[in-house]
């Protein structure tokens, strides 16, 4: 047998390379297997998460004709698997194809939470209630929105300061508070202190046991009258409120009581406005007060409420929403349209402010 030179090296080398190649492939196979399985799971999870987010974005809550709906606005099929109400759940399979609604009934009976097969939890009732509130018209009643500014302790506050005019003639405020009747002359350069008086009027014309602030003529020792004509009453509460910076809305509510006689039926037109004047000077803002009338034969009760959209004013004109101290005025135009009518007394029983802080500290009890 003739062996050629270098033949053994070639054969040995080939065997060695084969062995190394097989070994390498064996190790590589292990690594590759691991990577492939993990990648597959990651792909599945990634797809699931995409669908889950899309499902959440697609589910919308609707409120129509007092019924709450969950609508599938997306391209995926959605399956509801559980409904939660009052701490317990009901397992139900409800398929929502694209564009299909789930009718959840009225807001009070709608499930609190709806759970989908992809693990999305929709707070259905809460969303319905939120949408329902957007449709609700504010109650057209008398909102009791803060303390009565005209409560005895605030009327007699050391900060109390009034300016009262009727047809631009300056008058006073009369009130039956602690220690009997007192009147506050209108402020001019300073805020005068109340003065006790022997004048005694009916403190509560409408008989609801709440004493009223009476527009008073101290020279004549009686309530100011408006006889058979148009009268303009302006009652200003100096430095009454502080509007916080960034306030959105300030609401003011008041109740006016007029004694009226003659010219039955009383044909009287009343227009009222509320005015906020910055104490430090600057632009005055005023708004018409919505009002409702009531009362008895000779007592005319007018309740009014005014809303100052402070945020909107700020955007349009600047000023009010940046906050500050304001005086509050109630402007009343009384127009007696038929003859023989007399407004024998003008009094204010209630004044409330919401959205601003009252600066008149109550008198210590």
């Amino acid at each position: 047998m003739q062996v050629k030179r270098a033949q053994s090296e070639v054969v040995g080398g080939a065997i060695a390379i084969s062995i190394l190649f097989l070994t390498f492939m064996m190790l590589l196979g292990s690594v590759f297997n691991t990577t492939t399985s993990t990648s597959s799971a990651l792909t599945t999870r990634s797809k699931f998460e995409s669908e889950r987010i899309l499902e959440l974005r697609s589910l919308g809550v609707l409120y129509r004709n007092e019924v709450c709906y969950l609508r599938n606005r997306g391209p995926l099929n959605v399956t509801i698997v559980r409904l939660w109400s009052r701490g317990s759940y009901e397992s139900r399979i409800i398929d929502l194809s694209p564009g299909v609604d789930y009718n959840a009934g009225s807001v009070s009976t709608a499930p609190e939470y709806v759970v989908t097969s992809r693990g999305n939890v929709i707070p259905l009732r809460e969303e319905c209630e939120r949408i329902k509130k957007q449709y609700e018209v504010p109650q057209a009643g008398s909102p009791f929105i803060s303390d009565n500014v005209l409560s005895p302790r605030r009327v007699e506050s050391v900060d109390a300061c009034y300016i009262v005019t009727v047809d631009n003639v300056v008058y006073s405020i009369l009130y039956n508070g602690s220690g009997g009747w007192k009147y506050w002359p209108s402020a001019s350069r300073t805020c005068p202190q109340p003065i006790s008086t022997s004048t005694s009027l009916n403190p509560d014309v409408d008989g609801n046991r709440v004493n009223e602030l009476i527009v008073y003529d101290h020279n004549k020792r009686k309530a100011v009258e408006i006889v058979e004509k148009e009268g303009v009453v302006n009652i200003t509460f100096l430095k009454l409120v502080a509007i916080p910076s960034g306030a959105d809305v300030v609401n003011i509510y008041f109740k006016l009581v007029l004694s009226i006689s003659g010219g039955n039926p009383h044909d009287v037109l009343i227009n009222s406005e509320v005015i906020l004047t910055p104490v430090s000077g600057g632009q005055q803002v005023r708004t018409t007060a919505s009002s409702a009338r009531g009362g008895s034969t000779d007592v005319l009760v007018i309740v009014g409420w005014a809303t100052f959209p402070a945020g909107a004013f700020e955007k349009a004109f600047g000023g009010i929403s940046s906050g500050g101290e304001y005086s509050l005025s109630i402007y009343i135009n009384i127009n007696m349209r038929t003859g023989g009518i007399t407004v024998s007394r003008i009094s204010l029983e209630y004044l409330a402010v919401n959205g601003a802080t009252l600066l008149w500290e109550p008198k210590p009890s």
Partner: protein, 169 residues
């Protein structure tokens, strides 16, 4: 004489190469098997963790309900236990008693360590089956537990695949 010795040398060299190669392959196969077993375990646990979704479903005054689902809709059996946040106190109620050295939890560095590092007491586990595309509900009383740990079983050991922290109030 020289011409006769060459085939013998060739045979000897080939035999040596084959013997060394077989040894190397055997070692490589053994090493590969070891790596494969380790990587298969890691791969299994990782895949289970990836496939498992935990989500917050409902919370009452005294209980908390967590939803458990599998993204591929396949069957999966899970085990869980509740513990304090530092794992020094583990719930003593549960159907399955397990040695803490057989339970592996994930620490902040992302690696698995046996529960026995924190607690030498036996842990008691509950089991929960997730068998369809409907998420399974896992409700627990808020009580004194601060964390719930979801595990999968691999051989005689349990590995964490999910965790949920419980906040009082």
């Amino acid at each position: 004489m020289q011409a006769q010795s060459a085939p013998i040398v060739l045979v000897i060299l080939l035999a040596a190469v084959i013997a060394l190669g077989a040894g190397l392959m055997g070692y490589a196969a053994s090493y590969s098997s070891m790596i494969r077993a380790d990587s298969e375990l890691r791969n299994y646990v990782q895949s289970e963790a990836i496939k498992t979704v935990l989500y917050y479903e409902y919370e009452g005054r005294s209980d908390l309900c967590i939803g458990v689902l599998r993204v591929d809709g396949t069957f999966g059996r899970y085990y869980y236990f509740t513990a304090s946040r530092d794992f020094r106190k583990v719930s003593s109620s549960g159907a399955i008693a397990a040695d803490p050295s057989s339970i592996y939890i994930i620490v902040s560095e992302g690696s698995y360590v046996p529960l026995s590092v924190f607690n030498s007491q036996r842990a008691y586990l509950y089991s929960i089956d997730v068998s369809s595309s409907i998420p399974q509900l896992l409700c627990i009383g808020k009580g004194s537990s601060e964390v719930i740990v979801l595990l999968v079983r691999a051989g005689q050991s349990y590995y964490e695949v999910g965790r949920w922290y419980i906040y009082a109030g």
